[in-house]
């Protein structure tokens, strides 16, 4: 298929970016979206132009690196996927595809489609862990009784890959689905409950400090999340913060 691509080009964080049009031809419908981008970049390199910078790593939907806002949706027009799992068969021959970086004040553009998501790392550092001493005296995990329900919910929350699609999609650039998932995966388990109050307070404080917006419960994040993280995690985070503050 032959496509027209409208791609955001920006030299670096401080320079002003703009949309630039490109044409790609003979794109196979079996290609992933990133492979299509590779074809474009080969074309650009061969003609002596600067290739389009974009994030990618595992290319199998588990690392959370590939971003891109494609035709007005984070990771493009499909559900439960990252951009590397988006296939060109979702598009038609002759389509014009708009490709932009994830937008949020807390995700500044580094170059072209690459954004700085280290704000997520700093939120994790603020409390997304448990302080268990594992040097030589690790307890058998099965010795701690955990209900099936809690284990399943914690596991579902832990599938968050921190890609930032929730923030990119949210009209308020809120990070509450991400932080809600991280808070929940520990709050649901006995090992995490010991530090639950400090964790939620510190992570929410860091989230606010990074300049993410406020959740207005539109539910867009849950729809666009490649891992299907539930809005219930945001409700749980709200409960946890209330509990910790009273």
């Amino acid at each position: 298929m032959n496509l027209t691509l409208k791609i955001w080009r920006q030299k670096d964080t401080s320079s002003k970016g703009q949309m630039v049009d490109y044409k790609v031809t003979e794109i196979s419908e079996h290609m992933s979206f990133l492979e299509m981008m590779d074809v474009l970049n080969e074309q650009l390199v061969n003609s002596g132009e600067e290739p389009v910078a974009f994030d990618h790593d595992c290319r199998e939907g588990i690392c959370g690196m590939c971003s891109m806002y494609i035709n007005g949706e984070a990771h493009g027009p499909d559900r439960g996927i990252t951009t590397c799992q988006l296939h060109m068969r979702m598009f038609n021959d002759g389509d014009t595809i708009t490709i932009e970086p994830f937008r949020a004040a807390a995700f500044p553009v580094i170059k072209d489609l690459v954004v700085d998501r280290t704000s997520f790392d700093r939120i994790q550092h603020a409390g997304g862990y448990i302080s268990v001493n594992t040097s030589g005296n690790t307890q058998d995990a099965n010795a701690i009784p955990i209900s099936k329900h809690a284990a399943d919910e914690a596991m579902d929350a832990a599938t968050c890959i921190g890609c930032g699609a929730c923030v990119a999609t949210c009209k308020n650039s809120s990070a509450m689905l991400f932080v809600g998932a991280k808070v929940s995966q520990y709050a649901l388990l006995p090992q995490g409950q010991v530090e639950a109050a400090d964790r939620v307070q510190n992570m929410v404080a860091q989230m606010d400090l990074e300049g993410f917006g406020n959740c207005t419960n539109t539910g867009a994040c849950e729809v666009e999340c490649p891992k299907g993280i539930s809005l219930d995690n945001i409700a749980r985070m709200n409960r946890e913060l209330m509990k910790a503050s009273i």
Binding site: K6, R103, A104, A106, K171, V204, C215, N217, A235, L241
Partner: protein
């Protein structure tokens, strides 16, 4: 607790708490107004009670005013913060793919409701406060009978006002369609995500505005003397 209400989540909770109070108030207000469809006397008696009862006047009314003002001011503050958090806008953004129009446009339905409240204050609240607390007439009387019903009917003579009320209530319905379940989510309850409460929210967000619309149209069409 001071830190809590400064946090993003604390502000959501405060929005939800004021929303719950306002949603309860709407039920009360509609209940009294519905009486006007059936009995002039019942409506007058209920209005006189609400207008003179010290608990309603000096406990509920100040809470209501604070609740309304807080909900609007905090709504605007959060909207501004959220716009700042957004940074550069997308060239192409397909919001309809993942969320409802109502949920994305609470600020606009809210502004429409605010405009309505200003009109409503000029229509009813300011004359009421003026009669009672400036002129000192606590009787609620007009030509020997309670004035409330007469006042209501008179206000709905003007088709422009009736039209403005109807449009405002449609916006109220749109605001409630998202706001009702959203308030539960903000309070940390997943009940708003369950079918039962979602259905109740739908009924509530249609029934309340529709009730007010019916009252306005009824007095305009059938009681226009």
């Amino acid at each position: 607790m001071g830190g809590f209400f400064k946090s993003s989540i604390g502000r959501k909770v405060a929005m939800a708490l004021s929303a719950f109070f306002l949603m309860f108030f709407l039920i009360m207000h509609l209940s009294v107004n519905l009486l006007s469809l059936f009995s002039e006397d019942a409506f007058n008696t209920a209005s006189h009670f609400m207008g003179t009862n010290p608990v309603v006047q000096f406990a509920l009314q100040p809470v209501l005013i604070i609740g309304v003002v807080f909900h609007f001011v905090m709504g605007f503050i959060l909207e501004l913060k959220n716009r700042k958090a957004q940074g550069v806008s997308y060239a192409k953004n397909n919001g309809a793919a993942n969320s409802t129009w109502m949920s994305r446009n609470m600020i606009y339905s809210g502004i429409a409701i605010l405009a309505f409240i200003l009109l409503h204050f000029i229509d009813f609240w300011i004359p009421e406060i003026n009669t009672k607390y400036v002129l000192g007439d606590m009787s609620g009387m007009h030509d020997g009978s309670l004035r409330y019903y007469h006042e209501l009917v008179e206000k709905f003579h003007n088709p422009l006002r009736v039209g403005a009320y109807v449009v405002a209530f449609i916006f109220l319905g749109l605001h409630l369609a998202h706001g009702f379940t959203s308030a539960f989510q903000s309070m940390g309850s997943t009940a708003g995500r369950k079918k039962a409460l979602q259905n109740f929210g739908k009924i509530y967000s249609i029934a309340i505005p529709l009730g007010f619309i019916v009252i306005a149209l009824f007095h305009h069409l059938f009681n226009n003397h």
